[in-house]
Symmetry: C2
Subunit: 191 residues, 2 copies
Amino acid sequence: MSLPHAILTALLEKPSSGSELTRRFDRSIGYFWSATHQQIYRELGKLEQAGLIRALPSPVPTRGQKKEYEVLPEGREELRAWVDRREDPKVSRDPLPLRLRAAGVVGVGDLLPELVRHRDLHRARLEEYRRFERRDYPNGPRTEQERIQLLVLRGGIDMETGWVSWLGRAVEELSAAAPATPAASADRDGA
Amino acid sequence: MSLPHAILTALLEKPSSGSELTRRFDRSIGYFWSATHQQIYRELGKLEQAGLIRALPSPVPTRGQKKEYEVLPEGREELRAWVDRREDPKVSRDPLPLRLRAAGVVGVGDLLPELVRHRDLHRARLEEYRRFERRDYPNGPRTEQERIQLLVLRGGIDMETGWVSWLGRAVEELSAAAPATPAASADRDGA
DNA sequence: AATCTCATGTAACAGGTTACATGATTAC
DNA sequence: GTAATCATGTAACCTGTTACATGAGATT
């Protein structure tokens, strides 16, 4: 039950159409929650049905025409309640550690270049976050809302730092001692 | 497409019945991928159908009787191929950062105790991983497979370290300057 | 034999993914 | 006016979640 609340948050920050929301889910919001345009349109329909948002009056609201949505008081109330809700942490759903564990059983095969690739992707993401921090908060946060936005950004920084640290060590370890013949190591592990 | 491969890995490590797998998904494997018993039985059926695993011959294979599965060569081959597959990192699906972002819009409300709770859960998980490390690898890894298993464990440690670091700072920041009246801060943000 | 627990399921639904469809606008 | 693009959707499918059902063995 997070996508509707992500959408409510985004619409409170700025009323938008489905396509605009989709673009925002590829940038800022998308760093913490992803969604395709099909999900977004489906969810906008549900939220409107439930009376939490409404489409702004438009002259010709047909297919192919932009339709802007804004949050109704009921939607804001629902979001407020969600913030206060108690909800346990979810286990990670990134398959990479799982693939490494599988590699421990069937052999590392060709996993090393994939680890390198992921390490570099996470490094790039980390650098991006650091640029945001320097660009948007050069003198620290100036309002209560900015303080919280910066905290969220720092969350991304801490997570990416964790990935980079882990993958850095994994690449180092696996390039050091495992590069003999992958087939041989696979056979040994599989026996 | 990760659950079937998680199951293949688990079954290669040790042939098991559905209920045994379910218990293992509450411990070791569950630290990196979660699954309910319903998911596991459904997936075991598919994997057997696909010829990747088979039920060990049993005298009375009826309902309510344990049914042990083992991986067939085709299953091992599928797992090996999955390890080598190229697959992009997934964006996190933990709603907590999202809730903090929402709090920036509708006010922090009662989120602080929830942040404390999560921080403590992640701290406990981190300590648990460190105990595993001390207990299972007191002199470092002794085989290639142990080296990889330890790497996976270190992944968990690095991720939990990231959470603890972030949540520690978030709690500190929000207890310092935000504790006036939540309602007032909510109104200010919402304006 | 009634009840409890364990193991194996079924069913219904929500959320996420991929492929495809259609109306409106813009570029040529 | 035709083609490309943009915006809004529909449909089918897969994964994950929750509630419930049933057979077998153990407990009383």
